[in-house]
Subunit: 227 residues, 2 copies
Amino acid sequence: MTPGTPRPERRGEPLSREIIVRAAVRLLDDAGESGLTFRTLAERLATGPGAIYWHISGKGELLGAASEAVIAGAISAGSAGARPPEAVRTLALGVFDAIDAHPWLGTQLAVNPLRPPMLRFFESIGRQVRALGVAPSAEFTAASALLNYILGVAGQNAANARAVSPTTKRAEFLATTSAAWAELDPDEYPFTRSAADRLRDHDDRAEFLAGLDLVLAGITARLAPPP
Amino acid sequence: MTPGTPRPERRGEPLSREIIVRAAVRLLDDAGESGLTFRTLAERLATGPGAIYWHISGKGELLGAASEAVIAGAISAGSAGARPPEAVRTLALGVFDAIDAHPWLGTQLAVNPLRPPMLRFFESIGRQVRALGVAPSAEFTAASALLNYILGVAGQNAANARAVSPTTKRAEFLATTSAAWAELDPDEYPFTRSAADRLRDHDDRAEFLAGLDLVLAGITARLAPPP
DNA sequence: ACCTGAACACCGTTCAAGT
DNA sequence: ACCTGAACACCGTTCAAGT
Protein backbone atom coordinates (compact mmCIF):
# COMPACT_ATOMS: atom_id res chain seq x y z
CA MET A 1 0.00 0.00 0.00
CA THR A 2 2.17 2.84 1.24
CA PRO A 3 5.48 2.76 -0.58
CA GLY A 4 8.44 2.66 1.80
CA THR A 5 10.20 5.52 0.09
CA PRO A 6 7.94 8.10 -1.56
CA ARG A 7 9.12 9.87 -4.68
CA PRO A 8 11.83 12.43 -4.07
CA GLU A 9 10.48 15.93 -3.69
CA ARG A 10 13.00 17.58 -5.99
CA ARG A 11 15.26 16.57 -8.82
CA GLY A 12 18.32 18.69 -9.31
CA GLU A 13 16.76 22.07 -8.44
CA PRO A 14 18.32 23.91 -5.54
CA LEU A 15 16.49 23.97 -2.24
CA SER A 16 14.15 26.89 -1.64
CA ARG A 17 11.61 27.95 0.90
CA GLU A 18 8.86 27.14 -1.54
CA ILE A 19 10.09 23.62 -2.22
CA ILE A 20 10.55 22.95 1.49
CA VAL A 21 7.05 24.16 2.34
CA ARG A 22 5.49 22.11 -0.43
CA ALA A 23 7.29 19.02 0.80
CA ALA A 24 6.20 19.78 4.36
CA VAL A 25 2.55 19.97 3.29
CA ARG A 26 2.84 16.60 1.56
CA LEU A 27 4.55 15.07 4.57
CA LEU A 28 1.85 16.41 6.88
CA ASP A 29 -0.82 14.99 4.59
CA ASP A 30 0.91 11.61 4.46
CA ALA A 31 2.00 11.22 8.05
CA GLY A 32 0.14 13.76 10.18
CA GLU A 33 1.54 16.33 12.54
CA SER A 34 3.71 13.87 14.40
CA GLY A 35 5.19 12.70 11.10
CA LEU A 36 6.67 16.08 10.26
CA THR A 37 10.27 16.00 11.51
CA PHE A 38 13.31 17.77 10.16
CA ARG A 39 15.01 14.44 9.59
CA THR A 40 12.18 12.90 7.58
CA LEU A 41 11.66 16.11 5.66
CA ALA A 42 15.39 16.37 4.89
CA GLU A 43 15.39 12.77 3.71
CA ARG A 44 12.57 13.48 1.28
CA LEU A 45 14.48 16.50 0.05
CA ALA A 46 17.63 14.41 -0.30
CA THR A 47 19.66 16.56 2.05
CA GLY A 48 20.54 16.93 5.73
CA PRO A 49 18.39 18.55 8.41
CA GLY A 50 20.70 21.54 8.69
CA ALA A 51 20.01 22.58 5.09
CA ILE A 52 16.41 23.39 5.94
CA TYR A 53 17.51 25.91 8.54
CA TRP A 54 19.13 28.03 5.86
CA HIS A 55 15.65 28.76 4.48
CA ILE A 56 13.33 28.37 7.47
CA SER A 57 13.99 29.58 10.99
CA GLY A 58 12.53 26.61 12.84
CA LYS A 59 9.65 24.25 13.28
CA GLY A 60 7.16 26.95 14.18
CA GLU A 61 7.78 28.83 10.98
CA LEU A 62 7.64 25.60 9.02
CA LEU A 63 4.21 24.70 10.38
CA GLY A 64 2.99 28.25 9.93
CA ALA A 65 4.21 28.41 6.36
CA ALA A 66 2.58 25.07 5.55
CA SER A 67 -0.74 26.29 6.98
CA GLU A 68 -0.53 29.55 5.10
CA ALA A 69 0.26 27.82 1.83
CA VAL A 70 -2.86 25.68 2.11
CA ILE A 71 -5.24 28.26 3.51
CA ALA A 72 -4.26 31.03 1.12
CA GLY A 73 -5.51 29.06 -1.86
CA ALA A 74 -8.67 27.95 -0.08
CA ILE A 75 -9.72 31.46 0.91
CA SER A 76 -9.05 33.36 -2.27
CA ALA A 77 -10.83 30.65 -4.24
CA GLY A 78 -14.44 31.70 -3.85
CA SER A 79 -14.70 35.29 -2.70
CA ALA A 80 -15.67 36.75 -6.07
CA GLY A 81 -18.57 39.15 -5.86
CA ALA A 82 -21.16 37.16 -3.91
CA ARG A 83 -23.48 38.99 -1.53
CA PRO A 84 -23.85 38.87 2.25
CA PRO A 85 -25.42 35.71 3.53
CA GLU A 86 -24.24 33.51 0.69
CA ALA A 87 -20.75 35.02 0.57
CA VAL A 88 -20.17 34.15 4.23
CA ARG A 89 -21.15 30.56 3.54
CA THR A 90 -18.77 30.37 0.60
CA LEU A 91 -15.91 31.80 2.61
CA ALA A 92 -16.54 29.49 5.54
CA LEU A 93 -16.86 26.45 3.30
CA GLY A 94 -13.48 27.25 1.79
CA VAL A 95 -11.88 26.89 5.21
CA PHE A 96 -14.00 23.86 6.07
CA ASP A 97 -13.07 22.00 2.91
CA ALA A 98 -9.38 22.86 3.28
CA ILE A 99 -9.42 21.34 6.76
CA ASP A 100 -11.29 18.33 5.49
CA ALA A 101 -8.53 17.77 2.93
CA HIS A 102 -5.71 18.55 5.40
CA PRO A 103 -6.79 17.58 8.94
CA TRP A 104 -3.58 18.92 10.54
CA LEU A 105 -4.68 22.37 9.36
CA GLY A 106 -7.60 22.28 11.78
CA THR A 107 -5.29 22.11 14.76
CA GLN A 108 -3.13 24.89 13.41
CA LEU A 109 -6.06 27.23 12.82
CA ALA A 110 -7.83 26.47 16.07
CA VAL A 111 -4.70 26.99 18.10
CA ASN A 112 -2.74 29.50 16.03
CA PRO A 113 -5.15 31.71 14.12
CA LEU A 114 -4.92 35.22 12.70
CA ARG A 115 -1.63 34.78 10.97
CA PRO A 116 -1.70 36.82 7.74
CA PRO A 117 -4.00 34.62 5.64
CA MET A 118 -6.53 34.28 8.43
CA LEU A 119 -6.42 38.02 8.92
CA ARG A 120 -7.54 38.32 5.32
CA PHE A 121 -10.26 35.82 6.09
CA PHE A 122 -11.39 37.87 9.07
CA GLU A 123 -11.35 40.95 6.89
CA SER A 124 -13.57 39.26 4.32
CA ILE A 125 -16.01 38.13 6.99
CA GLY A 126 -16.05 41.63 8.41
CA ARG A 127 -16.95 43.18 5.08
CA GLN A 128 -19.86 40.81 4.71
CA VAL A 129 -21.02 41.69 8.21
CA ARG A 130 -21.00 45.34 7.17
CA ALA A 131 -22.93 44.50 4.04
CA LEU A 132 -25.58 42.94 6.26
CA GLY A 133 -26.13 46.35 7.77
CA VAL A 134 -24.70 45.68 11.22
CA ALA A 135 -23.96 48.89 13.12
CA PRO A 136 -20.27 49.83 13.45
CA SER A 137 -20.37 49.42 17.21
CA ALA A 138 -21.43 45.77 16.86
CA GLU A 139 -19.61 44.65 13.74
CA PHE A 140 -16.49 43.46 15.53
CA THR A 141 -18.56 41.29 17.85
CA ALA A 142 -20.49 39.83 14.92
CA ALA A 143 -17.41 39.06 12.82
CA SER A 144 -15.63 37.56 15.84
CA ALA A 145 -18.58 35.31 16.61
CA LEU A 146 -18.54 33.96 13.06
CA LEU A 147 -14.78 33.42 13.16
CA ASN A 148 -14.90 31.74 16.56
CA TYR A 149 -17.62 29.38 15.44
CA ILE A 150 -15.64 28.45 12.33
CA LEU A 151 -12.42 27.93 14.29
CA GLY A 152 -14.28 25.84 16.85
CA VAL A 153 -15.46 23.48 14.15
CA ALA A 154 -11.92 23.44 12.78
CA GLY A 155 -10.60 22.17 16.10
CA GLN A 156 -13.35 19.57 16.42
CA ASN A 157 -12.73 18.19 12.97
CA ALA A 158 -9.03 17.97 13.67
CA ALA A 159 -9.72 16.17 16.93
CA ASN A 160 -12.00 13.68 15.24
CA ALA A 161 -9.47 13.08 12.50
CA ARG A 162 -6.74 12.51 15.06
CA ALA A 163 -8.88 10.19 17.19
CA VAL A 164 -9.05 7.53 14.50
CA SER A 165 -6.61 5.94 12.12
CA PRO A 166 -6.21 7.91 8.88
CA THR A 167 -7.86 5.16 6.87
CA THR A 168 -11.06 5.05 8.94
CA LYS A 169 -14.00 6.19 6.91
CA ARG A 170 -16.33 8.91 8.12
CA ALA A 171 -19.30 6.56 8.38
CA GLU A 172 -17.32 4.12 10.47
CA PHE A 173 -16.25 6.85 12.88
CA LEU A 174 -19.82 8.10 13.25
CA ALA A 175 -21.09 4.59 13.83
CA THR A 176 -18.54 4.05 16.60
CA THR A 177 -19.32 7.35 18.31
CA SER A 178 -23.03 6.77 17.92
CA ALA A 179 -22.72 3.34 19.50
CA ALA A 180 -20.69 4.76 22.39
CA TRP A 181 -23.26 7.48 23.05
CA ALA A 182 -26.10 5.01 22.85
CA GLU A 183 -24.61 3.19 25.83
CA LEU A 184 -24.54 6.23 28.09
CA ASP A 185 -26.67 6.17 31.21
CA PRO A 186 -30.06 7.59 30.13
CA ASP A 187 -30.56 9.21 33.53
CA GLU A 188 -27.25 11.05 33.47
CA TYR A 189 -27.03 11.73 29.73
CA PRO A 190 -30.57 11.98 28.33
CA PHE A 191 -29.68 14.57 25.73
CA THR A 192 -26.47 13.09 24.39
CA ARG A 193 -27.99 9.63 24.38
CA SER A 194 -30.92 10.69 22.27
CA ALA A 195 -28.50 12.42 19.89
CA ALA A 196 -26.79 9.08 19.25
CA ASP A 197 -29.35 8.03 16.63
CA ARG A 198 -29.18 11.25 14.69
CA LEU A 199 -25.40 11.04 14.71
CA ARG A 200 -25.32 7.92 12.59
CA ASP A 201 -26.26 9.65 9.36
CA HIS A 202 -24.74 12.96 10.25
CA ASP A 203 -23.38 15.14 7.44
CA ASP A 204 -20.48 17.19 8.79
CA ARG A 205 -20.59 19.71 6.02
CA ALA A 206 -24.33 20.26 6.20
CA GLU A 207 -24.18 20.46 9.98
CA PHE A 208 -21.39 23.03 9.75
CA LEU A 209 -23.53 25.17 7.45
CA ALA A 210 -26.60 24.78 9.65
CA GLY A 211 -24.63 26.04 12.65
CA LEU A 212 -23.22 28.89 10.62
CA ASP A 213 -26.73 29.85 9.62
CA LEU A 214 -27.72 30.00 13.27
CA VAL A 215 -24.96 32.50 13.99
CA LEU A 216 -25.97 34.48 10.90
CA ALA A 217 -29.60 34.38 12.00
CA GLY A 218 -28.60 35.73 15.40
CA ILE A 219 -26.67 38.56 13.77
CA THR A 220 -29.60 39.39 11.56
CA ALA A 221 -32.14 39.19 14.35
CA ARG A 222 -30.21 41.23 16.86
CA LEU A 223 -27.90 43.50 14.92
CA ALA A 224 -29.14 44.04 11.38
CA PRO A 225 -31.90 46.63 10.84
CA PRO A 226 -35.18 45.35 9.48
CA PRO A 227 -35.29 45.95 5.69
CA MET B 1 11.14 36.71 41.24
CA THR B 2 10.56 33.07 40.32
CA PRO B 3 12.19 30.80 42.90
CA GLY B 4 14.65 28.35 41.35
CA THR B 5 13.18 25.36 43.12
CA PRO B 6 9.47 25.55 43.94
CA ARG B 7 8.16 23.83 47.04
CA PRO B 8 8.10 20.05 46.82
CA GLU B 9 4.75 18.68 45.77
CA ARG B 10 4.57 15.98 48.41
CA ARG B 11 6.08 15.26 51.77
CA GLY B 12 6.29 11.64 52.72
CA GLU B 13 2.99 10.49 51.19
CA PRO B 14 3.25 7.79 48.54
CA LEU B 15 2.84 8.74 44.91
CA SER B 16 -0.67 8.51 43.50
CA ARG B 17 -2.46 9.43 40.33
CA GLU B 18 -4.14 12.28 42.14
CA ILE B 19 -0.88 13.75 43.45
CA ILE B 20 0.74 13.45 40.04
CA VAL B 21 -2.15 15.17 38.27
CA ARG B 22 -2.24 17.98 40.81
CA ALA B 23 1.48 18.54 40.38
CA ALA B 24 1.06 18.48 36.58
CA VAL B 25 -1.61 21.19 36.75
CA ARG B 26 0.67 23.36 38.87
CA LEU B 27 3.58 22.78 36.51
CA LEU B 28 1.43 23.67 33.51
CA ASP B 29 0.28 26.83 35.24
CA ASP B 30 3.85 27.78 36.13
CA ALA B 31 5.65 26.85 32.94
CA GLY B 32 3.08 26.34 30.19
CA GLU B 33 2.58 23.34 27.96
CA SER B 34 6.20 23.15 26.92
CA GLY B 35 7.24 23.16 30.57
CA LEU B 36 5.46 19.92 31.38
CA THR B 37 8.05 17.16 31.02
CA PHE B 38 8.33 13.89 32.84
CA ARG B 39 11.74 14.87 34.13
CA THR B 40 10.66 18.19 35.59
CA LEU B 41 7.50 16.67 36.98
CA ALA B 42 9.47 13.81 38.54
CA GLU B 43 11.88 16.29 40.08
CA ARG B 44 9.02 18.19 41.69
CA LEU B 45 7.69 14.93 43.01
CA ALA B 46 11.14 13.98 44.30
CA THR B 47 11.32 10.79 42.28
CA GLY B 48 12.46 9.47 38.89
CA PRO B 49 10.50 9.76 35.62
CA GLY B 50 9.78 6.05 35.57
CA ALA B 51 7.76 6.25 38.77
CA ILE B 52 5.09 8.32 37.05
CA TYR B 53 4.49 5.56 34.51
CA TRP B 54 3.32 3.25 37.24
CA HIS B 55 0.28 5.50 37.71
CA ILE B 56 -0.19 7.19 34.32
CA SER B 57 0.12 5.51 30.94
CA GLY B 58 1.87 8.36 29.14
CA LYS B 59 1.93 12.03 28.28
CA GLY B 60 -1.44 12.01 26.55
CA GLU B 61 -3.19 10.63 29.59
CA LEU B 62 -1.32 13.08 31.81
CA LEU B 63 -2.48 16.09 29.79
CA GLY B 64 -5.98 14.70 29.56
CA ALA B 65 -6.17 14.07 33.29
CA ALA B 66 -4.89 17.57 34.05
CA SER B 67 -7.55 19.08 31.76
CA GLU B 68 -10.27 16.98 33.29
CA ALA B 69 -9.23 17.88 36.81
CA VAL B 70 -9.52 21.58 36.06
CA ILE B 71 -12.61 21.52 33.87
CA ALA B 72 -14.60 19.21 36.12
CA GLY B 73 -14.62 21.76 38.92
CA ALA B 74 -15.37 24.64 36.60
CA ILE B 75 -18.40 23.01 35.03
CA SER B 76 -20.13 21.60 38.06
CA ALA B 77 -19.69 24.92 39.86
CA GLY B 78 -22.65 26.85 38.51
CA SER B 79 -25.22 24.53 37.00
CA ALA B 80 -27.66 24.69 39.89
CA GLY B 81 -31.22 25.24 38.78
CA ALA B 82 -30.90 28.26 36.50
CA ARG B 83 -33.19 28.56 33.47
CA PRO B 84 -32.46 28.49 29.74
CA PRO B 85 -30.80 31.59 28.46
CA GLU B 86 -29.06 32.48 31.71
CA ALA B 87 -28.03 28.90 32.47
CA VAL B 88 -26.18 28.65 29.16
CA ARG B 89 -24.28 31.82 29.96
CA THR B 90 -23.33 30.49 33.39
CA LEU B 91 -22.14 27.20 31.94
CA ALA B 92 -20.14 28.88 29.21
CA LEU B 93 -18.58 31.38 31.61
CA GLY B 94 -17.41 28.49 33.77
CA VAL B 95 -15.37 27.17 30.86
CA PHE B 96 -14.25 30.66 29.86
CA ASP B 97 -12.99 31.52 33.33
CA ALA B 98 -11.24 28.18 33.72
CA ILE B 99 -9.32 28.85 30.51
CA ASP B 100 -8.55 32.35 31.64
CA ALA B 101 -6.99 30.94 34.80
CA HIS B 102 -5.23 28.07 32.97
CA PRO B 103 -4.37 29.12 29.41
CA TRP B 104 -3.01 25.69 28.46
CA LEU B 105 -6.54 24.37 28.97
CA GLY B 106 -7.74 26.34 25.97
CA THR B 107 -5.48 24.43 23.63
CA GLN B 108 -6.51 21.13 25.14
CA LEU B 109 -10.22 21.82 24.80
CA ALA B 110 -10.01 23.30 21.32
CA VAL B 111 -7.98 20.42 20.02
CA ASN B 112 -9.09 17.53 22.20
CA PRO B 113 -12.71 18.04 23.26
CA LEU B 114 -15.49 15.72 24.34
CA ARG B 115 -13.49 13.76 26.82
CA PRO B 116 -15.78 12.79 29.70
CA PRO B 117 -16.07 16.17 31.45
CA MET B 118 -16.77 17.98 28.19
CA LEU B 119 -19.36 15.38 27.36
CA ARG B 120 -21.11 16.39 30.58
CA PHE B 121 -20.79 19.99 29.46
CA PHE B 122 -22.35 19.15 26.09
CA GLU B 123 -25.11 17.32 27.90
CA SER B 124 -25.82 20.37 30.06
CA ILE B 125 -25.90 22.64 27.03
CA GLY B 126 -28.21 20.21 25.29
CA ARG B 127 -30.69 20.21 28.14
CA GLN B 128 -30.83 23.99 28.08
CA VAL B 129 -31.41 23.89 24.34
CA ARG B 130 -34.35 21.59 24.96
CA ALA B 131 -35.64 23.90 27.63
CA LEU B 132 -35.65 26.67 25.04
CA GLY B 133 -38.20 24.67 23.09
CA VAL B 134 -36.00 23.67 20.17
CA ALA B 135 -37.49 20.81 18.16
CA PRO B 136 -35.80 17.41 18.59
CA SER B 137 -34.69 17.39 14.95
CA ALA B 138 -32.72 20.60 15.45
CA GLU B 139 -31.47 20.31 19.00
CA PHE B 140 -28.21 18.59 18.12
CA THR B 141 -27.37 21.32 15.61
CA ALA B 142 -28.15 24.03 18.16
CA ALA B 143 -26.14 22.46 20.96
CA SER B 144 -23.22 21.81 18.61
CA ALA B 145 -23.21 25.41 17.43
CA LEU B 146 -23.00 26.64 21.00
CA LEU B 147 -20.22 24.19 21.82
CA ASN B 148 -18.27 25.03 18.68
CA TYR B 149 -18.47 28.73 19.39
CA ILE B 150 -17.25 28.20 22.96
CA LEU B 151 -14.40 25.95 21.85
CA GLY B 152 -13.42 28.42 19.16
CA VAL B 153 -13.03 31.15 21.75
CA ALA B 154 -11.08 28.69 23.88
CA GLY B 155 -8.55 28.20 21.12
CA GLN B 156 -8.26 31.91 20.43
CA ASN B 157 -7.64 32.73 24.07
CA ALA B 158 -4.99 30.06 24.26
CA ALA B 159 -3.34 31.41 21.12
CA ASN B 160 -3.30 34.92 22.51
CA ALA B 161 -1.89 33.73 25.81
CA ARG B 162 0.84 31.82 24.02
CA ALA B 163 1.70 34.69 21.69
CA VAL B 164 2.95 36.88 24.53
CA SER B 165 5.11 36.36 27.56
CA PRO B 166 3.17 35.11 30.58
CA THR B 167 3.71 38.36 32.44
CA THR B 168 2.27 40.60 29.72
CA LYS B 169 -0.89 42.24 30.90
CA ARG B 170 -4.10 42.04 28.94
CA ALA B 171 -4.16 45.77 28.23
CA GLU B 172 -0.61 45.70 26.93
CA PHE B 173 -1.43 42.86 24.56
CA LEU B 174 -4.52 44.63 23.25
CA ALA B 175 -2.57 47.84 22.75
CA THR B 176 0.08 46.00 20.72
CA THR B 177 -2.48 44.23 18.54
CA SER B 178 -4.48 47.40 18.12
CA ALA B 179 -1.36 49.29 17.02
CA ALA B 180 -0.48 46.53 14.54
CA TRP B 181 -3.97 46.58 13.04
CA ALA B 182 -3.97 50.35 12.83
CA GLU B 183 -0.99 50.11 10.49
CA LEU B 184 -2.71 47.82 8.00
CA ASP B 185 -3.28 49.13 4.51
CA PRO B 186 -6.72 50.83 4.62
CA ASP B 187 -7.47 49.77 1.06
CA GLU B 188 -6.76 46.12 1.67
CA TYR B 189 -7.99 45.88 5.27
CA PRO B 190 -10.71 48.50 5.77
CA PHE B 191 -12.68 46.41 8.24
CA THR B 192 -9.85 45.13 10.41
CA ARG B 193 -8.23 48.55 10.45
CA SER B 194 -11.35 50.24 11.71
CA ALA B 195 -11.67 47.54 14.37
CA ALA B 196 -8.26 48.56 15.74
CA ASP B 197 -9.67 51.42 17.80
CA ARG B 198 -12.41 49.39 19.38
CA LEU B 199 -9.88 46.71 20.24
CA ARG B 200 -7.99 48.94 22.65
CA ASP B 201 -10.61 48.81 25.37
CA HIS B 202 -11.92 45.41 24.51
CA ASP B 203 -13.31 43.24 27.30
CA ASP B 204 -12.72 39.59 26.45
CA ARG B 205 -15.28 38.29 28.84
CA ALA B 206 -18.02 40.71 27.75
CA GLU B 207 -17.19 40.05 24.11
CA PHE B 208 -17.42 36.32 24.71
CA LEU B 209 -20.87 36.73 26.22
CA ALA B 210 -22.00 39.04 23.42
CA GLY B 211 -21.02 36.44 20.84
CA LEU B 212 -22.72 33.71 22.84
CA ASP B 213 -25.88 35.81 22.91
CA LEU B 214 -25.76 36.06 19.12
CA VAL B 215 -25.73 32.29 18.81
CA LEU B 216 -28.54 32.05 21.36
CA ALA B 217 -30.50 34.70 19.45
CA GLY B 218 -30.09 32.70 16.26
CA ILE B 219 -31.36 29.57 17.98
CA THR B 220 -34.32 31.44 19.38
CA ALA B 221 -35.13 33.18 16.10
CA ARG B 222 -34.85 30.13 13.90
CA LEU B 223 -35.55 27.12 16.07
CA ALA B 224 -37.54 28.07 19.16
CA PRO B 225 -41.31 28.44 18.81
CA PRO B 226 -42.75 31.88 19.49
CA PRO B 227 -44.16 31.97 23.06
C1' DA C 1 3.25 -3.51 44.68
C1' DC C 2 5.71 0.28 43.96
C1' DC C 3 9.77 2.93 43.04
C1' DT C 4 14.47 4.10 41.01
C1' DG C 5 17.39 5.91 37.51
C1' DA C 6 20.23 4.47 33.75
C1' DA C 7 19.52 3.52 28.95
C1' DC C 8 17.17 3.71 24.34
C1' DA C 9 15.38 5.81 20.46
C1' DC C 10 14.08 9.57 19.17
C1' DC C 11 13.53 14.97 18.72
C1' DG C 12 14.82 20.27 17.23
C1' DT C 13 18.69 22.91 16.59
C1' DT C 14 23.59 24.30 15.98
C1' DC C 15 27.82 24.62 13.73
C1' DA C 16 32.41 23.52 11.86
C1' DA C 17 33.59 22.09 7.64
C1' DG C 18 32.94 21.77 2.95
C1' DT C 19 31.54 23.46 -2.09
C1' DA D 1 25.85 31.80 -0.70
C1' DC D 2 24.39 27.50 0.17
C1' DC D 3 24.71 22.81 1.74
C1' DT D 4 26.31 18.73 4.67
C1' DG D 5 25.99 15.75 8.53
C1' DA D 6 27.97 14.99 12.98
C1' DA D 7 27.15 16.62 17.57
C1' DC D 8 24.48 18.76 21.48
C1' DA D 9 20.90 19.11 24.61
C1' DC D 10 17.00 17.71 25.16
C1' DC D 11 12.52 14.66 24.88
C1' DG D 12 9.03 10.39 26.04
C1' DT D 13 9.34 5.83 27.30
C1' DT D 14 11.20 1.30 28.87
C1' DC D 15 13.08 -1.84 31.99
C1' DA D 16 16.35 -4.32 34.94
C1' DA D 17 17.19 -3.84 39.47
C1' DG D 18 15.95 -2.65 43.89
C1' DT D 19 12.68 -2.15 48.28
